[in-house]
């Protein structure tokens, strides 16, 4: 035994019990767990989370709200009010189902396609719109587009270079463990991100340091135009966790019930010191990658039409009806209700003023160094010159 206790016993195969354990882990990582099928029928009672009927309606409502705000962001982008939007349609179950079982003091590291998770964490439609429009109330102060977050909700703004938040979230999870807290991190990223170095470093650290992290792959089948089969030759993405000593579970990401159940179990295990879990939520991006993308270049509309059958809201309505929780009509009326609520919010938000002109000199450093102060004065002079010359910087 070495002083650190970390050295392996060399020159012999891995022990038999570890091999046996990995056989079980492989089944989870290569399988496909679902509680409710695409027709809303319960297919595995054990995978239904223990939630009340009221909570089921609440979960559904979050999914509806995500769908509604998503379509508004799309509309506002088409109107030229929002710079760019990454549509969420079809992926609401992963976002809501994974964020819902978390505690307020847990940290969430989303990607840019988790409107449902932002709402669950406490962001309102108004705040999402302020952010998307980068107006005077934008909590991120016009720093970037298509990213959302707010420290108030322990929701860390996503990076645009995909997946580079993965090892960061693992570091945050280590800090939680180090400080003796029983909180966890929940990190979302796409199938494409699993090809990046950041993913491998993140998973490796998560496994080695056994951190309280839940890592959720939103496998929506497409990294812009590149299909999952071009990301990896492995039979599943969840199986990648095993190479790092991180259990992987492959689940139906359009079944919000199973997402809730598996994330909830993984988070509780992590809280108890059981270490990280990698969850591959199999879903489908029904829309384009972003409003700047044209999926007809790389996939057929036939494929999209087929995948509509699996979309999560429809499934949830059928499930709730069969359980006698809500009729389909009642469920649909929730959508109407939120549509008109959000329409009102949109009107309010569009009337808000822009950010101040010198906003980008804030938050570069904690205290402004001399060169930032100089450049801020330069901006004032430039604005005066613009006025003298009759020039405008506005669109």
């Amino acid at each position: 035994m070495s002083k650190t206790g970390l050295i392996d016993t060399p020159f012999k195969p891995v022990e038999k019990n570890v091999v046996e354990e990995y056989k079980t882990l492989l089944e989870d990582a290569l399988g496909f767990k679902r509680a409710v099928d695409e027709e809303g029928r319960v297919v595995d009672e054990e995978l239904l989370p223990k939630v009340s009927e009221g909570e089921i309606v609440e979960i559904y409502t979050y999914m509806v709200r995500a769908r509604v705000i998503d379509s508004w962001l799309l509309k506002l982008q088409r109107m030229g009010k929002v710079a760019l939007h990454a549509p969420n349609k079809g992926q609401e179950a992963v976002a809501v189902g994974a964020a819902k079982p978390l505690r307020r003091d847990d940290w969430v590291f989303p990607s840019y396609r988790e409107l449902g998770a932002y709402l669950v964490r406490g962001m309102s439609e108004e705040e999402i719109l302020d952010r998307a429009l980068a107006n005077a109330d934008d909590p991120l102060k016009g720093s970037d587009f298509a990213i959302f977050g707010n420290r108030k909700y322990n929701l860390v703004p996503a990076p645009v270079p995909v997946g580079n938040q993965i090892p960061i979230s693992v570091g945050a999870a280590y800090a939680m463990k180090y400080l003796g807290r029983d909180t966890v991190t929940l990190t979302f990223f796409g199938d494409g991100a699993t090809s990046r170095g950041d993913f491998h470093a993140g998973l490796n650290f998560a496994g080695v340091f056994k951190v309280p992290a839940v890592l959720v792959i939103q496998n929506n089948q497409w990294a812009i135009s590149v299909p999952r089969a071009r990301q990896t030759a492995a039979p599943s993405l969840a199986v990648k966790g095993l190479a790092y000593g991180v259990p992987g579970v492959r689940i139906d990401g359009n079944d919000v019930m199973v997402v809730y159940k598996i994330v909830s179990d993984a988070a509780e295990k992590a809280r108890r010191g059981g270490g990280p879990t990698l969850i591959e939520a199999v879903t489908y991006r029904l829309g384009p990658h972003t409003t700047a993308d044209d999926p007809s270049r790389y996939r057929t509309s036939e494929e999209e039409r087929i995948m509509e059958r699996y979309e999560p809201l429809r499934r949830m309505r059928k499930f709730m009806e069969s359980m006698g929780i809500l009729t389909e009509k009642e469920a649909l009326s929730i959508e109407e209700e939120w549509n008109s609520k959000v329409e009102e919010i949109v009107r309010k938000v569009l009337a808000k003023p822009p950010l101040p002109e010198n906003v980008f000199f804030q938050n570069v450093y904690g205290e402004k160094p001399w060169f930032i102060q100089e450049e801020e004065r330069d901006l004032e002079e430039t604005l005066k010159t613009m006025e003298e010359l009759g020039l405008s910087y506005k669109e």
């Binding site: 016009g142 590149v226 604005l383």
Partner: protein
């Protein structure tokens, strides 16, 4: 023809001319690249030469370095140049330095190209002008065209270069500038600037999208002040064409450098320092730099953040009134 079409033509012609030229990157195949620079290449050259890769800039660049060392001429697309940092280790420590490290036995004839710079409301992760990082690295050529004609000629030279080239395409002028681009095979040598317009009062050195802003500014200064501005488009940022700049300064004695990269250690700092070190006697006033502010690229108010007409107007006025 616009710049996207010119770049597409250059790639197509080079791939037809030389079987060792391959294109790789994220979405370069069926999608044709997010800006359509590689559109249609997969139909003509197939999946083995137009390679849709897994999503990893580090993987793309390293894979391409290996190809290049073995004799291919890969052209690697970075979807947005802002995403290149994952590949930084490979670019600096390998692509740029294999020749030196191997005593000249290996070289890396690789082009890394991608859309750069701002002006399209792209936010901080779709707008960066990060050429200073590459200019600072010995062993790399750094190129940035400002017109479709130059884009075609410079990309061809870059592909034929036996060293690694960082080829930066200002996306704000991808489609806004159109001009005649000849069908024939022509190249523009790396390291050679272009005299955009002659003038006698101030030399304005610039490149990329700023060339077009500089032209507007020169017109404004002529109208309002009657000053005559000479504009030089560097085209290649490393090595930059010092001869053309010096020749111009012999005439004007005044230098203003305009670039989208931030001011601190931006290319303007190097040009200004080089001129002050070696040609101070030519100068009739301080060298001025018009650059972006030293903050991250902001989504809000990018027109105030980037060089603009008023900033150039002020800088030229200050130099003229020195």
């Amino acid at each position: 023809m616009n710049m996207v079409q010119a770049l597409n033509t250059a790639l197509r012609e080079e791939m037809r001319r030389d079987k060792s030229v391959v294109v790789l990157g994220e979405d370069v195949g069926r999608r044709g690249g997010v800006f359509l620079v590689t559109e249609g290449l997969i139909d003509e050259f197939g999946e083995e030469r137009v390679i849709d890769t897994p999503l990893t800039e580090m993987g793309i660049v390293a894979f391409a370095i290996g190809m290049a060392m073995y004799g291919l001429r890969p052209v690697a697309e970075i979807q947005f140049i802002d995403f290149i940092y994952e590949a930084f280790d490979q670019i600096v420590n390998n692509a740029a330095w294999y020749r030196f490290r191997s005593g000249g036995m290996y070289n890396v004839p690789l082009v890394i190209r991608g859309p750069c710079c701002g002006g399209i409301r792209g936010g901080m992760h779709h707008s960066q002008s990060n050429e200073p990082y590459f200019i600072h690295t010995p062993g790399l050529y750094v190129v940035m065209p400002s017109t479709p004609y130059d884009a075609k000629g410079l990309l061809k030279s870059s592909i034929r270069s036996d060293d690694a080239v960082i080829f930066l395409e200002p996306k704000s002028i991808y489609r806004t500038i159109r001009e005649e681009v000849p069908d024939n095979d022509y190249t523009i040598p790396l390291g050679q600037a272009r005299l955009v317009q002659e003038g006698s009062d101030v030399t304005l050195v610039t490149w990329g999208a700023m060339v077009h802003l500089a032209k507007e500014a020169a017109e404004l200064l002529r109208e309002k002040r009657g000053w005559s501005i000479e504009i030089i488009d560097l085209r290649t940022l490393q090595p930059w064409d010092k001869d053309m700049v010096v020749k111009s300064l012999e005439k004007t004695g005044r230098l203003v450098i305009v670039h989208e990269a931030r001011k601190i250690l931006g290319p303007g700092a190097e040009i200004a320092a080089y001129i002050s070190e070696n040609y101070i006697d030519l100068l009739r006033g301080p060298v001025k730099r018009v650059a972006s502010y030293d903050t991250p690229y902001p989504l809000a108010h990018e027109k105030l953040y980037l060089p603009n007409l008023a900033k150039i107007y002020r800088a030229v006025t200050e130099v003229m009134q020195w």
